[in-house]
Amino acid sequence: MSPWLPILMAVPVVGAIVVALLPKGSDKLAKQVTLLVSLAVLVLTGVMAAGFDPDGDRFQFTAAYNWIPSFGVKFGVGVDGVALVLIALSAVLVPIVVLASWHDADGVKTADGTLITPKRSVKTYFSLLLVLETMMIGVFAATDIFLFYVFFEAMLIPMYFMIGSYGGAQRSYAAVKFLLYSLFGGLLMLVAVIGLYVVAGKSTFMFPELVGAIQDPTMQKWLFGGFFIAFAIKAPLWPVHTWLPDAAAQAPAGAAVLLVGVLDKVGTFGMLRFCLELFPDAAKAFTMPIVVLAVISIIYGAIVAIGQTDMKRLIAYTSISHFGFIVLGVFAMSSTASSGAALYMVNHGFATGALFLAAGFLIARRGSPFIGDYGGVQRVAPVLAGFFLVAGLAGLSLPGLSSFVSEFMVMIGTYESQAHGSGALTAAAVISAVAVILAAVYILWMVQRTMNGPTAEPVKAFKDLNAREIWVLAPLVALIIGFGFFPKPLLDVINPSVHQTLTNVQVPVSTIAEKGTGQ
Amino acid sequence: MTTHYLVLSGLLFAIGAMGVLIRRNAIVVFMCVELMLNACNLAFVTFSRQVGNLEGQIIAFFVMVVAAAEVVVGLAIIVTIFRTRRSASVDDANLLKY
């Protein structure tokens, strides 16, 4: 019974209430409070993480309180390595997002003063942000599947409102699309959850007790289906990805970061933890089709990204491609690949986050998301251009930047994975390798068309990043580069739990994981 | 012996139901409903004879009461509408759609 996680979840929601109850007109105060709270959460997370013992039990900082005895539901929380890093990821991203979207709510103006987004309630925005943080932490920390589901669904609502009332021109369409897709997936998952409860007949939802509870393979397949579809929609996997580009493109930059950086990770996280461990046989049975889907979305995302003229959409599509990698890694059934996938979740969070924010700043200056409207930014705003470049390179996982490690691990792991004996996964790895080249194409093309070349007329008015914006991007870039060269701390935390997972799936744990780290 | 009564009540009921479905004048529709209720009464009494206990007859009393109450309420409603619209046709009552 450690109070850590409950506290961690309580702090932001309390903050949210405070922010919401602030008197009218105290927008600045609201922002400051939010920032403070999120930083506090960050600190707390850091302290907690420091106390995490990689070689200890799988779940640490566990706590479980009776919530709905009649349903056998507990308020059960606890983190293993993967969950921990993801919580850390969200804890890191939130303050950055707060800072980044400092002015989003109070009417974003372009340099020449044309209003992009009208003035909206600041307090609402930031309290929603904090509520969202609570739920992000909760969803990763939940060890009770019912609780997980609750957060999984409830998370949609604040994000829905953030997109819907603070987004761009098409916002309500995007918001509804986002909500309905996820809701539908969620409801299917609900059936699966209930089914799990009923079939397992253990009258509990606690994850550890349910592992291996379902033996009947056909039942496994059904329930697996329920969970997987939900997660596949969440971590947009081709062909159910279509909501992401809209949502990401319409959402304010900050929300987009959380959406792509954290919310979607819930999908892959869920696959890794629930799909694999609860239904090993089904997972094995379905590996092939899923891998195919993954590969398709890797390639598809990349190719479509090349065709995009809208920066945010482009980034969204790159993410689809990257999620393809993560899913591939998860289902490759080799410790290297899985660890890589887990690592990728974090790194992708940083990389895409940085990219979105940079693009967001760019757009905020010009008021248009279209690549064609820019050009030669680096002359007028070198710092911005620099950050943009780094973020982009992280996106195409240049060696030395964090994404590279994870992507590399995923591919190696997949390549060497002997699950399904045949070379099927090998083939998958080879094909997905193509995506690396494509990634180079779309990123560099975007950077080149926006940053270099002749300076477009409106761009001349651009101011370079101000202190706040630098403070937003700097930590991310630092993390990207840092973990690029030294991912070990992350891996040390991740590996044990990933191994645990794989053992539950009865996959021989090779030691490649360690090999992957050394470069 | 009693089957004849049952058949009769069945017929009455069917006639009433048909009337409700195809007639257009609210009052006629309403009378058809009453006809159905009386068919029920007939059935009850017949069965009470057949089964050999008095329940059916007692029920018939209560049905009468309910039928009376329905008459009172129903006519009041229909007459109000009639006064408003100068028509008791169910088809004219068409403000509420979909």
Binding site: I194 | V33, M36, F47, V66, E70
Partner: protein, 530 residues
């Protein structure tokens, strides 16, 4: 000759809540008769509220002192068992809340008899102090009394009488709207004609069953079923007709046609009462009939209910999408919810434990759904146009900007309807679905597997339903307010209380369902008296 009639015994203590409500209703009539006009309302309001509260208190007393009777009361006419008491409590609370809404000025016409737009209407309105017909209060009390009787009825005759006692006042109340009187009268007429039609079916069904079983008491029927061959045509016809009558009341497809019209036409507080109280009572009655009366016949009725439940959910959610009128939309949503409840009904069979589980689920669902509904309609009463309530959805555009709190509350209710986690609605749905899947796993059940299918249908339906709830939210929050938006009426204390209470319950139960769930559990664990 007929045998000696010995004086019947009546458990006055057990029936006290009923007696109080009906007594108050009768006193209400006397008030109407003898109190001068200007005094009536100030007598009625406390009388009505107190009687409802008193009845609730008596229910509590029975529960707390553990005097839940295990034998039918009043010579086997009523069964005041755990579930009945729970339903009574729910109905009383809901009606209490609805009465708070009814108290508001300007809902009811000053003189229903006057022709709309005529001189005598104006004359009536001029003397009327906005409270309209004060007969409303006795009528509501009678209706509530009927609602209390309905789920507690232990034989079909009692059930029929209760059905009428419940419906007749409602028919009238539907026609008393102060604004849009033509709509209101039309709703009243449609409700009446269809309602009478369906109750005739119920009655004929009763006759048939009586002919088969020789009795109308539910347990008696059950015994007859277990004894005789279950496939007597008489019986089949009877059951079908009974079903029609009951399903009509809960508005299950294909008998749902009346719901949208009536809900739209009726004065909103009455709509709230119907959408909450009537539904609760009717579902309770359905449960009792199917579990107590036809328990030995579930192989025959469950497939039918399966189809009807699926149909109801689909019809409800699909048709709701096309609605442009807020009350009609809520009506269709309540149809869809009736469908979800039918899933629960479907699951009440087999072992007593299973029955308890499903019963618990349904009771819980009814409670939370009722409260949320009342809250939603309470909000609807506040958004006003010059011509009355602003029913058309387009008028709600941008409400989120003009009245954030109100719109937020309404949005929350909608989310609860949609069954988003952390709202009571989700917990209700979850409970029902669990019960359904649970029942599916019972050994030796040929159509157990179908339960899963039904649940999937339910899930898809609620996904569809979510769409139109969300659409309203989009309208309220993501679209710009119209220039001549509707006025937001300054809510009376009563209305505020109603909205606040329902919001609190919706949130509270959403966060900590055990509070209600526990009670429902206790109520359900002592099953229907059989």
């Amino acid at each position: 000759m007929n045998p000696a009639i010995d004086a019947p015994t009546i458990e006055y203590g057990t029936l006290a809540p009923l007696l109080i409500v009906f007594g108050a209703a009768i006193i209400g009539v006397l008030v109407e008769a003898f109190a001068p006009r200007y005094l009536r309302k100030s007598i009625h309001v406390p009388l009505t509220l107190l009687s409802l509260a008193g009845a609730f208190a008596l229910v509590l007393v029975q529960v707390l002192r553990g005097q839940v009777s295990t034998a039918p009361s009043a010579m086997g006419a009523l069964a005041v068992d755990g579930p009945s008491l729970f339903l009574w409590g729910v109905i009383l609370v809901l009606s209490f809340v609805c009465v708070l809404l009814i108290n508001d000025e300007g809902h009811f016409v000053a003189s229903a008899a006057s022709v709309p737009g005529s001189a005598d209407e104006e004359a009536a309105e001029s003397v009327d102090n906005g409270s309209g017909h004060t007969e409303v209060y006795p009528l509501v009390l009678f209706a509530v009394g009927g609602m209390l009787l309905f789920p507690a009825a232990h034989d079909l005759l009692m059930m029929f009488v209760a059905l009428e006692v419940m419906s007749l006042p409602l028919y009238l109340l539907c026609g008393l709207a102060r604004r849009r009187r033509l709509l209101s009268q039309e709703a009243s007429m449609k409700y009446f004609l269809l309602g009478a039609f369906s109750s005739a079916f119920f009655l004929y069904g009763t006759a048939m069953v009586y002919g088969f079983a020789g009795t109308v008491s539910l347990p008696g029927i059950n015994q007859a079923l277990s004894a005789g061959s279950g496939l007597d045509p008489l019986l089949m016809i009877g059951l079908a007709m009974l079903g029609v009558g009951l399903l009509f009341k809960i508005g299950a497809a294909p008998f749902q046609a009346w719901k949208p019209d009536v809900y739209q036409g009726a004065p909103t507080p009455i709509t709230a009462l119907m959408a909450s109280g009537t539904l609760v009572a009717a579902v309770g009655a359905v449960l009792r009939v199917f579990w107590v009366g036809l328990g030995n016949l579930d192989w025959d009725w469950r497939p039918v209910i399966w189809v009807i439940a699926a149909l109801t959910m689909i019809v409800g959610s699909v048709l709701a999408i096309t609605q442009t009128e807020i009350k009609r939309m809520l009506a269709y949503s309540s149809i869809a919810h009736a469908g979800f409840l039918l899933i629960g009904v479907m699951a009440t069979f087999g072992t007593a434990e299973q029955n308890a589980v499903s019963l618990k689920a349904i009771l819980f669902y009814l409670a939370v759904y009722g409260v949320t509904t009342v809250g939603a309609f309470a909000v609807v009463t506040l958004i006003r146009d010059p011509g009355g309530e602003a029913g058309h959805l387009s008028r709600w555009a941008g409400l989120g900007k003009r009245a954030p709190v109100l719109a937020g509350t309404f949005a929350f209710f909608l989310l609860a309807f949609a069954g988003i986690p952390l709202t009571s609605g989700f917990m209700g749905k979850y409970a029902v679905f669990t019960a359904a899947l649970d029942s599916g796993t019972q050994p030796g059940d040929p159509i157990g597997g179908w339960m899963a299918g039904l649940v999937v249908v339910g899930v898809i339906a609620s996904a569809v339903a979510a769409f139109f709830y969300v659409r309203v939210i989009v309208l309220m929050f993501f679209s710009e307010p119209a220039a001549d938006g509707p006025a937001i009426a300054v809510p009376s204390t009563g209305t505020v209380a109603v909205i606040a209470v329902s919001l609190l319950v919706t949130v509270g139960v959403g966060l900590y369902p055990e509070s209600v769930l526990g009670i429902a559990n206790d109520a359900a664990s002592s099953l229907f008296i059989r």
